[in-house]
């Protein structure tokens, strides 16, 4: 199985690369958005950077990526990568992939950015049954505000704001937390996603 990470050029991909790599799995990074969804079995949108910058990097290949996802390409979006699966963001200009209708909004709370380990609430997805993750690492100032509430399969709460931790549309999964930074259980979730979409 070939996994492609779309690299916006912003941050650390080492832990993610290592978490994705396995005996049955070849991982490549791709900086060209028009090639990111081509000739691959899984697309991963990683989680570091700002929305405007990432949307601008994605723009030349946005339609191709969206078409591939619509045609069934499994996709995992992490943190900013999850936010790119929505329509647009208050953080910056540009358009997302619009797989999930809704906007990304500023997180309200006593302490923002939210940095640290937060509990995963009301988990209701086969992936979270296969790889339970009671608490996960977050580093974000923005959260997704989906129109389609049933697409949300788990939640977290920061201060008085409850926001989507995990969304799914068929074989596209978005997580607001960083599974690759959530120790062993987080890595297990990534492995479980690859098993799910590989079977």
């Amino acid at each position: 199985m070939k996994v492609t990470i779309f690299d916006y050029g912003a941050g650390n991909l080492h832990s993610l690369l290592k978490a994705l790599a396995g005996d049955d799995c070849r991982v490549e990074t791709q900086t060209d958005p028009s090639l990111a969804a081509k000739d691959t079995d899984v697309l991963v949108l990683p989680g570091v950077g700002a929305f405007g910058h990432a949307a601008a990097r994605l723009a030349p290949g946005r339609d191709a990526v969206r078409a591939a996802i619509d045609a069934g390409l499994p996709c995992l979006g992490i943190c900013l990568g999850m936010q790119l699966l929505f329509d647009a963001s208050d953080e910056g200009p540009g358009i997302g992939l619009g797989v999930f209708p809704g906007r990304v909004r500023k997180l309200e709370g006593e302490r923002v950015p939210q940095i640290g380990w937060n509990t995963i609430e009301n988990a209701l997805d086969p992936l979270l049954d296969a790889a339970p993750l009671p608490i996960a690492y977050y580093a974000n100032s923005y959260v997704c505000d989906p129109i389609d509430i049933p697409s949300v399969r788990a939640w977290s709460t920061h201060g008085s704001t409850t926001f989507p931790a995990f969304v799914r549309a068929e074989r596209t999964v978005g997580v607001q937390f960083h599974p690759e930074k959530s120790s062993r259980s987080g890595v297990e979730l990534i492995r479980a996603f690859l098993r799910e979409v590989g079977s």
Binding site: N12, R111, G116, Y138, N140
Partner: protein, 253 residues
């Protein structure tokens, strides 16, 4: 609910952990990769590598250490020490850091915080502040605590956040290495002044000191170093005590 964090700090020089000499019963003690992964297994919530190298050559090896660590560590890694520009931040992130702490360079030129936050997001920009108590408050020191500035630590923390820092790593120079407990007043004052997370540092002598700074010091996280490296307590023991006190924390099985 967001958990309070126990952050383990390793001082690195020339690619090796120093202060590790006391860790006599462990052969692998000097290797930052081994130590970081060991602390992850014990339940550390984050790791900080603080580069105390004096020369550029020594410093260059830290990026290689970060790269090797990030391939094996699955909790967040912060790199600090010698970071001057947004390009330095970029190099640290590309090498495997999740966050980068900036200290003296931010005092010299606060725009480095803004430029880094704009490129990489505020969540990876940590303003590191070394503060020493004086009559009427705390002054900011730079260059490893050697150079006094006229900046008031609480005001400076506010300015760092206004410039784009997403987290404050706050070290009490008075308490650092004394094991007499964190400076609770300092932590409380900075915590009240800003709305980003505060990592308290300097003075941890026991698990109870960690509890105190999280409970009455209003810190979001506590940095711990010496008492772990010399084996006088463990991450697990600290977390058990925090859990018993009713603080929200992450426990590992």
């Amino acid at each position: 609910m967001l958990a309070r964090r126990v952050v383990v700090c390793l001082d690195v020089q020339g690619g090796r952990v120093v202060k590790g000499e006391r860790f006599v019963h462990l052969r692998e003690v000097g290797d930052p990769v081994e130590l970081a992964t060991r602390y992850e297994a014990e339940g550390a919530d984050e790791i900080v590598f603080l580069d105390i190298s004096a020369t550029a050559d020594e410093r260059a090896t830290l990026l290689d250490v970060a790269r090797r660590t990030a391939e094996r560590l699955f909790i967040p890694l912060t790199l600090g020490g010698g970071v001057r520009t947004a390009d330095d931040v970029s190099r640290a992130l590309r090498a495997g850091a999740d966050k980068v702490s900036i200290n003296s360079a931010a005092v010299a030129r606060p725009e480095v915080l803004t430029e880094s936050a704009a490129r990489f997001g505020a969540q990876c920009v940590v303003a590191s502040i070394d503060a020493r108590r004086e009559a009427g408050g705390w002054k900011v020191y730079t260059h490893g605590g050697r150079t006094r500035t006229e900046l008031d630590a609480v005001e400076w923390a506010r300015a760092c956040v206004a410039h784009g820092a997403g987290e404050i790593l706050l070290t009490s120079i008075d308490r650092d290495g004394t094991r007499s407990g964190y400076d609770l007043e300092l932590t409380r004052a900075v915590s009240a002044a800003v709305d980003v997370p505060i990592v308290a540092s300097g003075g941890a002598g026991s698990a109870n000191d960690v509890r105190e700074v999280l409970e009455s010091g209003n810190a979001d996280a506590a940095l711990v170093a010496g008492i772990l490296h010399d084996g006088s307590t463990t991450v697990g023991a600290i977390k058990q005590l925090l859990a018993a006190a009713g603080l929200p924390i992450r426990l590992v099985a």
